[in-house]
């Protein structure tokens, strides 16, 4: 079947399918492909078009009422292929320990272990066109190219790697195959405005157009495959059996919003830039692109009761002179490092050190409906991003540990500027939206069960980072895809 424009459907037209997938980002496309191989009749609904448009993107506008955050229409993409239209391609599975109970939180971790996802992670890696060995050890990859690693205490900080997809654009790479599948229909510009409830299940979804026309899609099963901000919105705007949103009988939908707090301003004064080449320059081995990173060891995280974190190093040579002029204390640090290392030249090199950290799930951090409405009359969202003291503790400890280890290795001195002297550091997000319909076997503490089915709803599933009960620090795409492939297996079995 070809890719169709939903605006060409007749007003009031009704479509039917075995499974209706809402969203054609990487999850929706991959799920559609998997189901197509079994002959299951699938309808894929994508709100955006093949190109980005201001009119469609505007539907993502919303308010930020918590921590400073990106504009909500800029932090996500409403387009066939979703976020893979603009991603940088960084990929990594979650760590084994990321599946455990989060630090100091009164919440469970994942209802299954990482090992249950391994085969799916491998397949997800192939889809992202990266190495599928899931080998993360820096030593393994550095030895293959004869690169040196930074000498650190492995029980504290480890050298590992972060993979980089080409980056694969899922619409271009897999869209044609999906469009050619006989059992799949793809509709673009299909704005889902409501999930219609009927006797313990979703009976249909309603799509709407800017000219006022609407259509209905009826299916046996529905899968929400949109992002972590839009999933709770679609559930909350659909009244459901209790009038407060589908799956929201315990007021869980939209809660536990997690990001990956980024601290991007630290820099390292070093006299030995060559030591960092494995970490600052991309390595390509048999078509796999990767960079070295520094990660906190599980032992340290456990002992300190902090979240997961990594440090990504980037050269900043053009930044050096301006920084030197602007920071008198930095000049002093350069004098210290130079004196201790007998450097005859006053010039030393700078590296930017980006810390990417884990945010613990926190019920106060949430997506709610706003009092503002979009052109279809639906409430927009308000994001109340809240960080927990543990999150700041994780950031501080990550900076301190990596800084100490680098200094101890004789490699330089780290600076992490404070923000106004009040907040520990200026924190940004990573455009990663997780946790708003979290996985939990307990319906009072989450929204979906281990099969990704919404509690209390017979036929509604979610394939999104919104189901992550914890988020680690790793970019979420690979885990979203692994969960999607796992869900595809479940749907194939239950539909067969």
């Amino acid at each position: 079947m070809a890719i169709r424009d939903a605006r060409d459907l007749a007003p009031g037209e009704e479509l039917t399918a075995d499974i209706c997938i809402i969203g054609a980002g990487p999850a929706g496309i991959v799920l559609g492909l998997e189901l197509a191989r079994t002959g299951i009749e699938v309808v894929v609904l994508e709100g955006g078009g093949e190109e980005r448009s201001d009119e469609s993107q505007d539907l993502y506008r919303g308010e930020n009422i918590g921590e400073d955050y990106f504009e909500l229409d800029l932090t996500r993409v409403r387009q066939f292929g979703g976020s893979t239209n603009h991603w940088e391609g960084y990929c990594r599975p979650l760590d084994r320990e990321d599946f455990d109970r989060p630090p100091a939180a009164d919440l469970e971790g994942w209802p299954f272990s990482r090992s249950e996802l391994i085969d799916h992670y491998r397949e997800a890696s192939r889809l992202c066109e990266i190495d599928d060995s899931l080998e993360l050890s820096g030593e393994h990859w550095a030895s293959r190219v004869g690169a040196g690693l930074i000498d650190m205490e492995p029980t504290t900080v480890r050298s590992e790697v972060l993979f980089r997809s080409p980056p694969t654009n899922f619409a271009r790479r897999y869209g044609p195959e999906l469009a050619e599948a006989d059992s799949v229909s793809i509709y673009l510009h299909a704005n889902v405005v409501e999930l219609t409830w009927e006797q313990d299940r979703v009976s249909s979804v309603r799509i709407a157009h800017f000219n006022g026309a609407t259509q209905t899609i009826t299916a046996s099963k529905f899968v929400l495959a949109v992002g972590g901000l839009e999933v709770p919105r679609l559930l909350l705007v659909s009244p459901g059996p209790h009038g407060n949103g589908i799956g929201n009988q315990h007021d869980q939908v939209g809660r536990y919003f997690m990001e990956h707090p980024h601290l991007i301003t630290p820099h390292l004064v070093t006299h030995d830039l060559d030591q960092f080449s494995f970490y600052t320059e991309e390595t390509v081995i048999e078509n796999t692109r990767l960079i070295g990173i520094l990660t906190l060891s599980p032992e340290l995280r456990s002992a300190r009761a902090i979240g997961n974190a990594t440090a990504v190093l980037q050269t900043a040579s053009n930044f050096g002179q301006r920084w030197s002029d602007a920071d008198p204390l930095g000049k002093g640090v350069r004098s210290l490092v130079g004196g201790l290392n007998d450097l005859t030249s006053p010039e030393q090199e700078l590296l930017n050190v980006r810390f990417i950290t884990e945010q613990v799930p926190n019920a106060r951090s949430r997506v709610v409906l706003s009092s503002h409405h979009d052109p279809f009359g639906l409430p927009r969202i308000a994001l109340d991003w809240q960080l927990h003291p543990i999150d700041y503790h994780t950031i501080r400890k990550a900076v301190e540990t990596v800084g100490t280890q680098l200094a101890n290795a004789g490699l330089g001195r780290l600076n992490a500027p404070t923000h106004g002297g009040l907040l520990p550091y200026r924190i940004l997000g990573g455009n990663h939206h997780m946790g708003t319909t979290r996985l939990s076997e307990d319906p009072t503490r989450g929204v979906v069960d281990a099969s990704l089915r919404v509690h209390g709803v017979e036929n509604l599933y979610i394939a999104s980072s919104s189901v992550f009960p914890t988020g680690g620090w790793a970019n979420p795409t690979l885990t979203i895809l692994a969960l999607t492939l796992r869900l595809a297996d479940h749907l194939k079995e239950s539909s067969g």
């Binding site: 006299h271 002093g332 004789g410």
Partner: protein, 140 residues
């Protein structure tokens, strides 16, 4: 570009300390004898002479002095900066490279032992801050 000077790793520091111990057992305290200055003054001068860019160090030194309780005596700073196993008189007779190794070992030990401090975001060892304070006091 980066300097060609190799970094000092812990093994080098230990070797350096061993060599220093040997040297200190045999070398005369010629500087001290020649100038008549106190050993503390000379040790302070040996330390300060290693570092260029006094204005930058002064910023760090002032931070240390402000955070210290009461008056800071350069003599106390010298004693705290020197490794406990190295005598003052022996220190002043060490070569520049040996002084540098000794101080580097002291700083490395700070990081291992978590004797660190954050100054406007800079993660530094306490010995480094004391060195900066010493440079500042000598300039006053």
């Amino acid at each position: 570009m980066s300097e060609s000077t190799p970094r000092i790793d812990r093994r080098q520091i230990l070797i350096g300390m061993g060599l220093t111990g040997l040297a200190l057992a045999t070398w005369p305290t010629s500087w001290l004898l020649a100038t008549g200055s106190s050993a503390t003054d000379i040790a302070a001068e040996r330390i300060a002479a290693l570092f260029n860019g006094r204005d930058g160090l002064d910023g760090l030194g002032q931070q240390y002095l402000r955070s210290a309780q009461g008056r800071v005596d350069p003599k106390d700073l010298v004693e705290e900066i020197l490794p406990p196993s190295i005598g003052l008189r022996a220190f002043v007779d060490a070569s520049d490279d040996e002084v540098r190794l000794l101080l580097s070992a002291r700083v490395a030990d700070d990081f291992v032992s978590h004797r660190i401090t954050s100054v406007e975001g800079w993660i530094l060892s306490r010995t480094e801050m004391k060195i900066a304070a010493l440079v500042t006091l000598r300039g006053i």
